[in-house]
């Protein structure tokens, strides 16, 4: 059943939906668009392309306390902290590439034993409204990863934006329930939603068939010696990447009381693999750059059958020195001309 809502009624919709739990929307603050919980007066940018940071933090928060403790070494008590069944978030306006990336995280955090209950709860509790994408920018290359910018199969609701209206196509029961709550604002779609057709993105001339297998032989490829050179060892690419999921665990507090939390971490940092005794298996940028790209292009596919990239283009946009996955694929024999 297709529904629609006039763009002028969206603020009312936000207000209603956010009463149920945090409503994550692409919100612009000081010129930067990111998914944030909606608040009164927020500038919602459904029209914007991908925000700088992908919405993975809604399920894998930048920082998440999962344990509190109290008492010193003689009287330690530990208490679990986890999202409750009432923590129902709505993720509204996620683009198909980002949703596909979330599904990739699902495999690691939900499917792979032992599952991660913190992630799973947030994910299961959340209702996801995907938004079709009609105007990719020069850095979007999701086509290459079989993403249809106009359709996200995993969404609870698929939404399409037109000049005056937002069309909503419910896909799941969760989606139905959500829309039911905003019944008064929503009407049946009289005409067929203007679903964007054949949204074409660039492919940078890449050809990915067989790449993962070929890379097994290219661990010591001289191409790595040039590729890593410009890397600054910052964590931009990993933090803006929707399929990166590494984390760190740290305690905060004093002997009497405190908490343990996990937070995002990046394999691009030298400390990431630094062992207490001083040994570091990936001491230099070369090993770390290689690890990151091979994880995306070889290791993840070896386990899950698919390259861990959705072509969202964020690393291309954000890397301060323009070192990105496209460059890596090209350097490693993924260029169409070389393969065909």
């Amino acid at each position: 059943m297709k529904k629609m809502i006039g763009l002028d009624k969206l603020p009312a919709l936000w207000e209603q939906l956010s009463a149920e739990g945090p409503l994550y929307l692409p919100i612009e603050e000081r010129g930067v668009v990111c998914f944030k919980p909606w608040y009164e007066g927020a500038v919602v940018r459904l029209d914007a392309l991908n925000g700088v940071v992908p919405p993975k933090d809604i399920f894998l928060p930048r920082e998440e306390t999962y344990m509190r403790y109290q008492g010193g070494s003689q009287t330690l008590e530990i208490e679990a902290v986890s999202p409750g069944p009432d923590d129902k978030a709505t993720l509204f306006g996620v683009h198909p590439c980002d949703l596909k990336a979330v599904e990739m995280l699902d495999r690691v955090y939900i499917d792979q034993e032992p599952g991660d209950s913190l992630y799973r709860r947030r994910r299961e509790n959340a209702t996801v409204v995907a938004l079709a994408c009609s105007s990719p920018d020069p850095f979007c290359f999701c086509n290459l990863f079989e993403v249809d910018p106009a359709d996200a199969p995993g969404a609870d609701i698929m939404a399409y934006l037109s000049e005056q209206s937002l069309y909503l196509e419910t896909r799941t029961e969760k989606g139905e329930t959500m829309l039911a709550k905003a019944e008064s604002l929503i009407s049946d779609a009289k005409d067929e939603p203007e679903r964007p057709r054949e949204v074409k993105t660039t492919d940078f001339g890449l050809y990915l068939e067989g790449l993962s297998d070929n890379l097994k032989e290219r661990f010591d490829d001289p191409a790595w010696d040039n590729l890593y050179k410009s890397c600054l060892s910052c964590g931009v690419c990993t933090y803006v990447c929707p399929t990166c999921y590494c984390f760190d665990v740290e305690d905060f507090g004093h002997e009497g009381a405190g908490e343990r939390f996990r937070c995002w971490d990046s394999c691009m940092f030298g400390h990431f693999t630094q062992m207490a005794g001083g040994h570091n298996p990936r001491p230099d940028r070369k090993e770390r750059v290689r690890q990151r790209f091979l994880h995306k292009l070889q290791y993840y596919p070896q386990t899950y059958g698919e390259i861990a990239c959705v072509g969202c283009g964020r690393c291309l946009r954000s890397c301060p020195v323009n070192l990105d996955i496209v460059q890596a694929v090209k350097a490693l024999g993924g260029e169409a001309v070389e393969q065909r």
Partner: protein
């Protein structure tokens, strides 16, 4: 692309080519094009084929000096193309004892300022296809036509506010100097913030810093951040927690800025590198402004011989607090 910059690039290639191929330097740090015409990336040229890729146009914004830290471990002598900011960055590294002057050949490139793709796009108002430049103006070609804008309108922010476009240190100057830019109002936004009440200012910074991802791009790109182990990563003592708490955000950003007191060369790379557009330069510039006001004019990186202000003192120095 402007014919001028093509000619200039040709000239640069020729001169550095002699040194590289003649063995005077083992490596040349320059720029090559990225995926698109508005992108450049660092080039690590070792041979003639690499040199072919060398580019010099209005998008060579990335500061190359920092790469010396790593490359000097591999090569006996390294050549670097330096714009004004890169040269100041070099001086910064020199003052911090991070590079050996005699192992680096600096090719000075007086810089007209680099262009900002975002601003170009905004000015174009539609899908920008290409640009051409002549005499301080830029012609934007879009699918629907052409438009001319002043070059100054589409400069990178950091370049629009640059005071020293010419390299302050070099072995060879490859282009003709631009001259020191007068009347640059680089402290305007600092002054505007100073007008706010403390609570307003705090709210401003809390909002800006709340976006911080702790990717440390600002640090990694910065010529004054050359510590082997940043305080951020230390476990003992743990100066800085990894949590994304407001206090931890402030801890990092205030200390990062403070560590640049009298050392920040005002190149703006931190702000450019920041993926979430935190106005880091405002923090840096606040310190530049105040240090100049309190302890006399000092422009970090301009003169490698001048004492950095926090490493010296005068008995009659003023203070920012009551000395009664």
């Amino acid at each position: 692309m402007a014919e001028k910059s093509l000619k200039e690039a040709e000239k640069i290639r020729e001169i550095v080519g002699q040194d590289l191929l003649g063995g005077r330097i083992g490596l040349l740090l320059g720029w090559e094009k990225g995926h698109y015409w508005w992108q450049s990336r660092p080039l690590f040229a070792k041979n003639e084929a690499d040199l072919e890729k060398l580019t010099w146009d209005s998008f060579c914004v990335i500061n190359l000096s920092r790469y010396l830290l790593e490359e000097l471990k591999e090569h006996g002598k390294v050549g670097v193309l330096v714009k004004g900011c890169d040269a100041r960055a070099f001086n910064r590294l020199l003052q911090d004892n991070m590079v050996a002057r005699d192992r680096v050949v600096l090719y000075g490139l007086p810089c007209p300022g680099m262009l900002d793709y975002g601003r170009l796009n905004e000015e174009a108002g539609g899908a920008l296809i290409s640009i051409s430049e002549s005499n301080g103006s830029v012609t934007l070609k879009t699918g629907t036509g052409e438009k001319s804008v002043e070059r100054d309108q589409v400069l990178m922010k950091k370049c629009a506010e640059c005071v020293y476009p010419d390299p302050v240190v070099y072995d060879q100057l490859l282009l003709s100097p631009q001259g020191k830019k007068e009347g640059v109002e680089r402290f305007k936004s600092v002054e505007d913030l100073e007008e706010l009440t403390p609570d307003e200012r705090f709210a401003y910074w809390e909002g800006e810093l709340s976006r911080c991802l702790r990717c440390y791009a600002c640090r990694q790109v910065c010529p004054f951040c050359s510590c082997r182990e940043c305080f951020v990563e230390q476990d003992n003592p743990r100066w800085q927690g990894r949590a994304y708490q407001p206090g931890e955000n402030f801890m990092f950003h205030l200390v990062r800025a403070y560590h640049g007191t009298g050392r920040c060369i005002d190149c703006g790379e931190c702000e450019r590198a920041c993926p979430v557009d935190i106005p880091l330069q405002e923090l840096n510039r606040k310190l530049i402004k105040d240090i100049n006001q309190l302890y006399g004019d000092y422009e970090a990186g301009v003169d490698a011989e001048a004492d950095p202000p926090l490493l010296t003192y005068r008995p009659d120095d003023p203070a920012a607090f009551s000395e009664k």
